[in-house]
Amino acid sequence: SAVISQKPSRDICQRGTSLTIQCQVDSQVTMMFWYRQQPGQSLTLIATANQGSEATYESGFVIDKFPISRPNLTFSTLTVSNMSPEDSSIYLCSGSGTGGSKQYFGPGTRLTVT
């Protein structure tokens, strides 16, 4: 199994600013993902974080708004840029082995934009 930590656990930010969320895994994982969960809703995949190359974004999410880095197999960052109140959400980091294995989640970062 993998233990995933995220920083910060929560933040309140002003409109127009940016926040970078860090994700650390305690062991090497093949795949890392970033999800968003809006209040009372399910999880929506933002992107797959690829080691040493550009992330793969899902429909509706773009690199300019959500730049992602993954410099090695255990660490990734997600930046939420030029924030608006609509970006208020929980952002979750996830890791797994190859396609046929269990997926683990961090505790989430609760973001409120005022």
Partner: protein, 109 residues
């Protein structure tokens, strides 16, 4: 993309009761997982079960891949079982999962 439907959307039980949660999916899958999101938001992986049956204590799960559904059984429910149960599936080797809308379970003492 693949569609995932979970039922029921909400479930209220008395402590000690049993329950069955269902997950239907629209295409063949190579990965199916059940998660529990506790009231503090943490997602716990309960089962990795693309096919067959598994048991872990009071919980068990069965996936019938040919009929495109999975069931999660909770027996002798406890208040700590409260939260949201998500089914997540994948049909690629990219590892990314599509989540259902979840079943919100409330267990009353």
């Amino acid at each position: 993309g693949i569609q995932v439907e979970q039922s029921p959307p909400d479930l209220i039980l008395q402590e000690g009761a049993n329950s069955t949660l269902r997950c239907n999916f629209s295409d063949s899958v190579n990965n199916l997982q059940w998660f529990h999101q506790n009231p503090w938001g943490q997602l716990i992986n309960l089962f990795y079960i693309p096919s067959g049956t598994k048991q872990n204590g009071r919980l068990s799960a069965t996936t019938v891949a040919t009929e495109r559904y999975s069931l999660l059984y909770i027996s002798s429910s406890q208040t700590t079982d409260s939260g949201v149960y998500f089914c997540a599936v994948s049909n690629t080797n990219a590892g990314k999962s599509t989540f259902g809308d979840g079943t919100t379970l409330t267990v009353k003492p």
